[in-house]
Amino acid sequence: MSSNNIQSYGFKPLNLGRIVIWALFALALIVAPLLFKSSLALTMLSQIGYLIIICLSYNMLLGQGGMLSFGHAVYTGLGSFIAIHAMNMAGKGMSIPVSLIPIVGGLAGMGFAALLGWVTTKKSGTTFAMITMGVGELVASMALMLPDFFGGEGGITTNRVYGQSFMGISFGPQIQVYYLIAFYCFVCTAAMFAFTGTPLGRILNAVRDNPERVEFIGYNTQRVRYFAFIIAGFFAGVGGGLATINFEIVTGADSLSVIRSGGYLLFTFLGGATFFFGPIIGAVLLVFASVLLSELSKAWLLYLGLVFLFMVMYAPGGIASLVMLNVRLARFGRLKPLLSCYLGMALTGSVVVLGAASMIEMLYHLQLNAALGPEMEFLHLRVNAEATASWLCAVAVLAVGLGLFELVRRRFVARWHHIQEEIEKEIKRTEAH
């Protein structure tokens, strides 16, 4: 047992898989705007870029430190505010190039994390969650009280094109901003990944799993949490600074709000807090949900809440854990027998969603657009939201979908357990040799 452990920590000179993955990540960042050229796609990509940093920094607390923070927007938001003031001052003559503004934001986030984190990290677990929420409210309401600094309701605006352009780079066009964000995104992701391997990162995992034992081997858990909190604050501030460059406006009511913090939490969790790459998925989902889904349906927050609830109940590891479970199956060559089940579940599941969504949409239509009459458009169909027939139809679709889904699900569960047992046996067999 012990010899095995020592081996697994041995020095590996070249980790080819890791290099390939990071190269692919860099390539994806570079190529993405060349593939999706519309301006909507470019703004979405820019948002994804800095949200990846923010969600990863959030996961440094939630996933790696077991600290459930309800006030992460404080550090991104304050980072944004300091960044925007730095930009405005730079426009008046102080010499900070736009490309370094995210660092300014990061230092600001770090400073505020050092200040406020000293109080919040005094506790862990549930109490930590409540305190971060209190501190979040404190900062958010303070922003409304000090309009000189936070700009009040209207916020503060800036202009990112100042100073001399360098080799044609003025950061006026969105594409240049995107590449700045992409650069920071890659560097910060790499830095945060490197952090997970440092002694601090490892002891942070230990503090998450068994704080009592960490105390016994002589570490101060509070200090470990505090340091991790400060580092997370730095990356959050970098994300906030990039957001400032992207939008050229910061408002206190929005970027410091507890709702914003809740959003980071929600999507980091949906993406998957147990794996390093989970929050990256979460950031992509966050942008897609808030840009595309909110256009598509007025009920998007309801759908989001439902998805989140089901995810916590059935897959607490998020999407990343679902992916990794199937990667494990594929590695043992057992993915194929499940594919038909996945297809079946996707089909029946979409019937369920269709039935439920049509009812929700009809309800929303009746509540919000009553003035427009009972007729509404749903998936290019004219539907009368007041007619009994359309409700009966929706109920029937939902019932049929639920029944079929349950049938497929039972077969899937049986097969899944069978395959897992076989894999366990195979692992034992190879270990015996």
Partner: protein, 317 residues
């Protein structure tokens, strides 16, 4: 500050504090029993207000006072049975997250059913008007009704927990769940009852808080973080601490909104004049009533620095 202002503000503060206690007591009970921080607690408060609004339109306020909390409690137990219990094995953070998701859902559903603006949930005739007049200022009946209900509730919960058989089982399940289970008590059902009971208490607070203050979709969020402050300041899991902290914060906020002093007035009293161009002018000119919303959170921060276990909390960590 004269006596009249002091007495009325004190009474208002106590009635608001008692309302806060009705909420924080349920939260504390659930937390100390199940270790679950119920993020959706104030959502149940909001549901109580909206249910009472709808029910009182149909059958009047007084029946609604009993029916609405029961309905909220039933919903709470259902949620515990079918969602929270499933998550229990994953640990405390997923439990908190599932209640967080629920608070999202309840807010959306409330906005869907009752709309996004304030609903006209008014006081019944018996509670309108002043109860008594003190130095020319009136004290409304509705506020005193809140005080009455809160005290009755406090007494009955205390009696239930300490003087009845079910209360003893609940206390046993709190400290020694395995032993209580081994003696043949259905501990998961006890948890379900406690969660439902806590939700019902929040619902009751909603019924009487909704018409005294306002009934709107933002009511859950606005009181939610204050409740958390109350629970932390009072000491996690301590009912008596929650009581003290509720009153403290209720009185603090009520007095603060009425006081129009700022640092500038204080400095002027000392004979120091600050010019408008000075760097800290925008901070110094803030009056106490302007900073009233952040006072509870400041109290939280100060408490954590000087007495991290809370007013009456036990040492933890």
């Amino acid at each position: 500050m004269n006596l009249e202002f002091f007495t009325i503000s004190m009474l208002n503060g106590i009635s608001y504090g008692l309302l806060l206690f009705m909420l924080s007591s349920g939260l504390t009970l659930i937390f100390s029993m199940m270790g679950v921080l119920n993020f959706a607690h104030t959502s149940f408060y909001m549901l109580g207000a909206y249910f009472a609004y709808t029910i009182s339109k149909a059958i009047g306020f007084w029946p609604a006072l009993f029916v609405a909390p029961l309905a909220v409690g039933a919903l709470g137990s259902l949620f515990e049975r079918y969602s929270l219990r499933r998550v229990h094995k994953f640990g405390h953070v997923p439990e908190l997250l599932v209640t967080f998701g629920l608070s999202y859902l309840i807010l959306e559903v409330v906005q869907l059913v009752w709309g996004r603006s304030t609903v006209p949930y008014g006081l019944p005739e018996q509670l309108q008007g002043p109860l008594f007049t003190l130095y020319g200022t009136q004290f409304p009946k509705s506020r005193s009704f809140i005080m009455l209900v809160a005290l009755l509730m406090l007494a009955s919960v205390w009696l239930l927990l300490t003087r009845t058989r079910i209360g003893l089982v609940i206390q046993a399940a709190l400290t020694h769940p395995e032993m209580a289970e081994a003696l043949g008590h259905n501990v998961p059902r006890v948890f379900m009852l406690v969660f439902g009971g806590g939700a019902a208490l929040a619902g009751l607070a909603g019924v009487i808080g909704g018409n005294t203050y306002v009934t709107e979709p933002a009511m859950a969020g606005s009181v939610g973080s204050i409740i958390f402050v109350v629970v932390v300041v009072g000491g996690m899991g301590s009912l008596a601490g929650a009581f003290l902290a509720s009153l403290l914060i209720g009185v603090l906020q009520t007095f603060a909104v009425a006081l129009d002093y700022s640092m500038l007035t204080a400095l002027a009293g000392l004979g120091v004049q600050v010019s408008e161009s000075s760097a800290l002018y925008s901070v110094l000119k803030l009056t106490i009533s302007q900073v009233a919303p952040i006072l509870p959170y400041l109290l939280l921060v100060l408490m954590l620095i000087f007495r991290p276990k809370g007013l009456l909390g036990k040492r933890e960590d």
